[in-house]
Symmetry: C2
Subunit: 332 residues, 2 copies
């Protein structure tokens, strides 16, 4: 209730009625909301909520000072549009850090314990994996290497520590780490030195020009033979063919993969889109997940999204720092 | 090297050569080892390593004061035999607490994220689970209820805390809990009051007369509809039919089950033994694992077993307290 002046927000898309109701309940009085797809009659909004804003939406209101992307990410088209408009600050939300981190940990553990093929065999009354040596690896005492130490990476780190693992993370700006941080934080240049000690490699960094293909054949070759690779970031951070070959030849033990190289573009393609040009589905040492870390259909997570948007709108209206300023030059 | 008198150990079974070598390397000088199946010529062992000792092994040596069971558990036949021989103290080892706890956490997470059916569908190029509402539950902020708070339960608790969950545990002797314990510890009588608040129910207690059927239809009915049940203890702690019905009717969300109601008895039955008289394999909301928590074929764990046996032998030889005294009356 500390908002004094009127503050106007335009949302490119109208959320579903439950979300609108929750949003209105959370917002301070004095925050006015309009919804697209049409622009309001005389556009005078201070903040625009849009992931891929149109030129018109960006230029129609002279008072527009903030763009809020209602998810974690920065589409390339948005980046280009905003680089031309330095007077508008760009923010996004990280409401899905918990489900993304949990999926990463779930994939790590399923890969470490070979849960998927073992489940399939017991459903056919076959207990033989029980007697197979070295089908599982123990995680306690092992070393996790995290690429990325943002909201998601820090949660993965906490879960790994809870399992008795040691955590090292590579971070673009290690100096941002809190002094009480229990993990070892290194700059990205330490990658090649760190890979040979990674019992688990967690990839949880944004997809940018700098991270594309960051893990290729050379990097995979540096990993220990028992290593488990987990990717909940974006497919192209890991080279597609190199990953397939490493798993097929067992030069690494296993992988848990949530992000891929090909996606369904239309609704009618959702049941017939191979996620890669390589037959990952033939491999027993990969756990395959259809880009669910964002968890956008999970009720809890949708509520968290609305709460994150509300927090950012309230901060903006009050003139307080808005969370998660996007660095356009870095690309996230 | 603090062993002064000779201390003799007889092992019912000879471990594999690597294990024997490691054991001899770890033991103090002055500890003599003999191996079965035959008894040594003039049996004079102070300690017997055997899970199911024969009457002859128990009575042949007048100096026998300690029975060490080389795993976590107390077979009923051993319990009966030892109740008649109160002059022999019975100990076991808990070398497999870490893999058992990790399997419990892996099963919880796979069940929470529906990893198994989703993996199966993506292997068939089907992305539709990505768009299915409420296929996953978020664990952060949720409540785990642990039945049992021994070596395994405490590790499960640590992992759950690392995921941002709140932990309550039921323990037969809550007064044994350290004052700095971050979890809520309740006596077993609190079960019915605690079940309605359990988002995840972890079963990690020994199978005894007191725990058999502890979770039946009445208890399952008290769980929330979104609850995930994980059993790495023993099958019969949970009523077989009641569990199947609860999962089939979705009166609970999902389960991760490592311990069953029927087991292969002979090697040739290992590929053809249904784990239950109910068709759990038809259910998508169960993750099925063939009693792997003990992880007896995992290299790391076998080494941990030898190390645990060595520690107990050294303690016994030195006259120090031997870890993990078995309470015959309690049955574990």
């Amino acid at each position: 209730m500390r908002t004094h002046r009127r503050f106007s927000v335009h949302m490119q898309e109208r959320p579903d009625p439950r979300a609108v109701e929750l949003l209105k309940r959370l917002l301070d009085e004095g925050i006015e909301l309009t919804f697209g797809p049409d622009l309001p009659g005389s556009p005078r909004y201070d903040l625009l909520v849009a992931g891929r804003p149109t030129e018109r939406e960006l230029d129609a209101s002279a008072s527009l000072g903030v763009l809020l992307i209602p998810w974690a990410g920065l589409p390339q088209s948005t980046r280009t549009a905003m680089e031309k408009r330095p007077h508008i600050s760009v923010h996004n939300i990280h409401h899905n850090a918990a489900p993304a981190a949990e999926l990463a940990v779930a994939l790590m553990m399923a890969a470490a314990k070979a849960l998927v093929p073992v489940d399939r065999r017991l459903r056919a009354d076959d207990w033989s994996p029980r007697y197979e040596p070295d089908l599982s690896v123990l995680l306690e005492g092992r070393r996790a290497l995290l690429l990325g130490y943002g909201e998601i990476g820090r949660r993965i780190a906490g879960a790994c520590r809870g399992l008795g693992m040691q955590v090292t993370a590579l971070r673009r700006r290690p100096e941002r780490t809190a002094p009480e941080c229990p993990d070892t934080i290194l700059p990205p240049q330490a990658l090649h030195d760190a890979l040979p000690a990674a019992d688990v490699l967690h990839i949880a960094l944004p997809h940018t020009a700098a991270t594309r293909g960051m893990i290729g054949a050379a990097e995979l070759a540096l990993l220990p033979a028992d290593c488990i690779l987990v990717n909940v970031a974006r497919g192209p951070v890991v080279d597609e063919e190199a990953l397939f070959r490493a798993l097929e030849s067992r030069s690494i033990r296993a992988a848990g993969i949530d992000v891929w190289y090909a996606y369904p573009k239309r609704e009618d393609e959702r049941t017939s889109t191979p996620p890669s040009r390589f037959p990952f589905g033939d491999l027993d040492n990969v756990v395959m997940s259809p880009h669910r870390a964002g968890a956008f259909a999970v009720r809890d997570v949708e509520e968290a999204r609305v709460r994150a948007i509300a927090s950012s709108l309230i901060a903006a209206a009050r003139g307080e720092p808005i969370p998660h300023l996007v660095d356009l030059a870095a690309g996230y």
